[in-house]
Symmetry: C2
C-alpha cells in the first residue's frame, strides 16, 4: 500500500493525493475528503523513510544517555523523557534514545548531524564548560538544554529551575529553625545544577554569618546509598550536623534510613530537607502529607516544556534563543524541626 497504489485506486495522481493528505491548499475540498477517506479505509500510512528522504526532515528528536563509569542510569531521566515523549507524540515527532559511554557521546552527536537522523536534540546533565554546547552550535543541530551553564560564548535555548534560590531558601529555612551545623549531600558538582545548589547554600550561610564546615559538604551520584553512607559517616563526627540538605529524594531516603538505624528521630534530632523532582513512583509521602520538607519542581513538566521549546526552535530556526527559569516551591513536612539545644 503505497501512495502510488492509493492514487491509482482513486484515479488521481500521486501529486494530488500527497497534497490532499498533507493539507496543501490547491486541492478541492471534496477531493481531499475522498482521498482521506480512502487512505483511512485502505489503511494507507506513508512510509517514513521515503518521507524523510524527500523532505530532508527526520521528524525525530534525539536523546542521548551516557552511562558513565558508575553505570548509573539517571532515575530522573525516565520522568523527563515521559514528559517530552508526550509532547513529541502530540506533534507527530518520534524520539530516539541512544545509550553510549561518555567517550563516545560527542561522536554520537556528530553522526546524528551528518546523517540527519534527528532534527534536534535535548541535552541533559550539563557540566561546567560543557563541550556539547559549542559542538552542537558548530554542527548547526538545533538543541535545548535542560539546565544551563554560565559563560557560554553564544546564547542558547534552555529550561532550568532556580537551583540556587531553591537551596538558599531551604538553607534559610533551616537557619530560621536554629540550625547552624548544616550538611549538604549534593549531586556531582561538575554538573552545573549541583554547583548552583551549593552556591545557594553558601549564599544563605554567608548571609547568616555562618561559616561552612568542609566535613559537612559532600557530593556524589544521587543514589540512596550515598545518603545512607555519608549520613552514617557524618553522625560519627565529633560535631555531627543537626540538619542535612539533600539533592534528591533518593538520597534523602538513604539519610532517613541511617538516622533511623542510629536510633535518631528525623525532624527532631536531625532535620532533613531535600529537593523533590516529583518522581511518579517515588512520592514524597502521601497526598497532602509529605514525609520530607522539600523544594519541589516537576521534572516531567520540565521535559514536556523543553520538548515544546525544541519543536518551536526547529520550526522557526531564525528565532532567537529563549530561556525559562522556573521557581521551586518549598513545602513543609515533618522531617524538619527546631535545632536540638
Amino acid at each position: 500500500m503505497t501512495l502510488k497504489d492509493l492514487a491509482r485506486h482513486l484515479g488521481l495522481s500521486p501529486t494530488t493525493v500527497s497534497r490532499a493528505l498533507n493539507g496543501y491548499p490547491e486541492v478541492n475540498a471534496q477531493t481531499r475528503a475522498r482521498v482521506k477517506d480512502a487512505a483511512h479505509a485502505m489503511g494507507y500510512v506513508p512510509n517514513i523513510g521515503a518521507q524523510r528522504l524527500a523532505t530532508g526532515r527526520a521528524k525525530t528528536i534525539g536523546h542521548v544517555v551516557s552511562l558513565d563509569d558508575h553505570e548509573i542510569i539517571n532515575p530522573f531521566f525516565a520522568e523527563f523523557v515521559a514528559g517530552a515523549g508526550e509532547a513529541y507524540a502530540a506533534a507527530g515527532y518520534e524520539m530516539t534514545l541512544s545509550v553510549c559511554s561518555q567517550q563516545t557521546e560527542l561522536d554520537i552527536y556528530r553522526s546524528m548531524a551528518a546523517r540527519r537522523s534527528v532534527d534536534g536534540v535535548i541535552l541533559h546533565n550539563v557540566r561546567r564548560d560543557d563541550e556539547r554546547i559549542p559542538l552542537l552550535q558548530s554542527l548547526g543541530l538545533p538543541f535545548v538544554v535542560h539546565g544551563r551553564v554560565a559563560g557560554n560564548e553564544h546564547p542558547y535555548t534552555y529550561l532550568d529551575i532556580s537551583n540556587d534560590d531553591a537551596f538558599a531558601t531551604a538553607t534559610e529555612h533551616l537557619i530560621a529553625l536554629g540550625h547552624t551545623r548544616i550538611a549538604l549531600l549534593n549531586g556531582l558538582t561538575d554538573l552545573s545544577f549541583a554547583q548552583r545548589r551549593e552556591d545557594g547554600v553558601h549564599r544563605a550561610l554567608a548571609g547568616a554569618g555562618i561559616a561552612p564546615v568542609d566535613t559537612l559538604f559532600h557530593s556524589a551520584e544521587m543514589s540512596d546509598s550515598f545518603g545512607y553512607l555519608k549520613t552514617q559517616e557524618m553522625l560519627r563526627l565529633p560535631h555531627p550536623p543537626t540538619a542535612i540538605l539533600t539533592a534528591s529524594i533518593l538520597t534523602a531516603m538513604g539519610a532517613a534510613r541511617a538516622l533511623s538505624d542510629a536510633g535518631l528521630q528525623m525532624g527532631k534530632d536531625v532535620s532533613v530537607l531535600t529537593h523533590d523532582d516529583v518522581l511518579s513512583y517515588m512520592s514524597n509521602g502521601v497526598e497532602g502529607a509529605p514525609v520530607f520538607t522539600a523544594t519541589v519542581s516537576s521534572i516531567r513538566a520540565a521535559g514536556s516544556k523543553s520538548a515544546q521549546m525544541l519543536l518551536k526552535l526547529i520550526n522557526t530556526p531564525a528565532a532567537p534563543p529563549v530561556s525559562q527559569v522556573w521557581d521551586t516551591e518549598l513545602i513543609i513536612g515533618p522531617s524538619t524541626g527546631p535545632a536540638p539545644t
Copy 2:
C-alpha cells in the same frame, strides 16, 4: 557530502563505493581501502533515510511506554532500556521510544508496522490475554516479550524470570522462620508477572498447610506510597501480618517507613522480603550488606539479553521462537527474622 560526491572525488562509480563500504566481495581490496580512507577523511556518513528507503530496513527497534491513568512511569523501564540500548548501539541499531496512552497503544504498533518505521519491538508489562501479542503476530512485526503469558495460540520469543519459583522460595523462607501471617504487596495482578508471583506464594502456603488470608493480599502500582499506606493499614488489623512480601524495592521501602513510624523494628517485629530488580540508583543497601532479604534478578541484564534475542530474530526470521527463563537468587539481609512469639 553524499555517496555521489565521494564517488566523484575518488573517480569511481557510486555502485563501487557503496559496495566497498558495505563489505561486498566484488571489490578489489586496494580499492576498498582507498574508499574507506577517503570516506573517513571526508567525514562521509550515509544518509539514514535514504538507506532505509533503499533497503527497506529501518535499523531501528521500537519501545512503547504507555502511561495509564496513574501516569506512573515504570521505574524499571529505564533500567531495562539502558541494557537494551547498549545492545542496539553495539549492533548499529537505533531505538525509538513512543509515549502513549493505553488506548492508543495498539494503533502505535499498527502504524509502526505499516510505515515500517521499526524492524521490531519489545513488549513490556504483558497482561493476561495480552492483545498486543496476536496483533504483532498478525502484523508480521518481529517482537520479543519481556515476561510471558500463558495460553497463547502461537508460540513467541520471550525472556522471563521464574517469578513463581522466586516467590515460592521467598515464602518458604518466611515459613521456615515460623511466619504464618504472611502478607503480599504485589504489583497489579492483571500483569502476568504479578499473577505468577501470587501463584508462587499460594503454592508455598498450600505446601505448608497455611490458609491464605484475604486481608493480607493486595496489589497496586509498585510505588513506595503503596507500601507505606497498605502496611499502615495492615498494622491496624486485629491480626496484623508478621511478615510482608513486596514486589519491588520501592514498595519495600514504603513498608519499612511505615514500620519505623509505628515504632516497630524490621526483621524483628515484622519481617520484610522483597523482589529486587537491581535498580542502579536504588541499591538494596551497600555492597555485601543488603537492607532487605530479597529475590534478585538484574533487569538491565534482561534488557540487554532481550535486545540480542530480538536482533537475532530479525536477522533470521525463519528461526523458531526461543525463550529463556532466568532463576532468581535469594539473598538474606537483616529485614527478615524469626516470627515473634
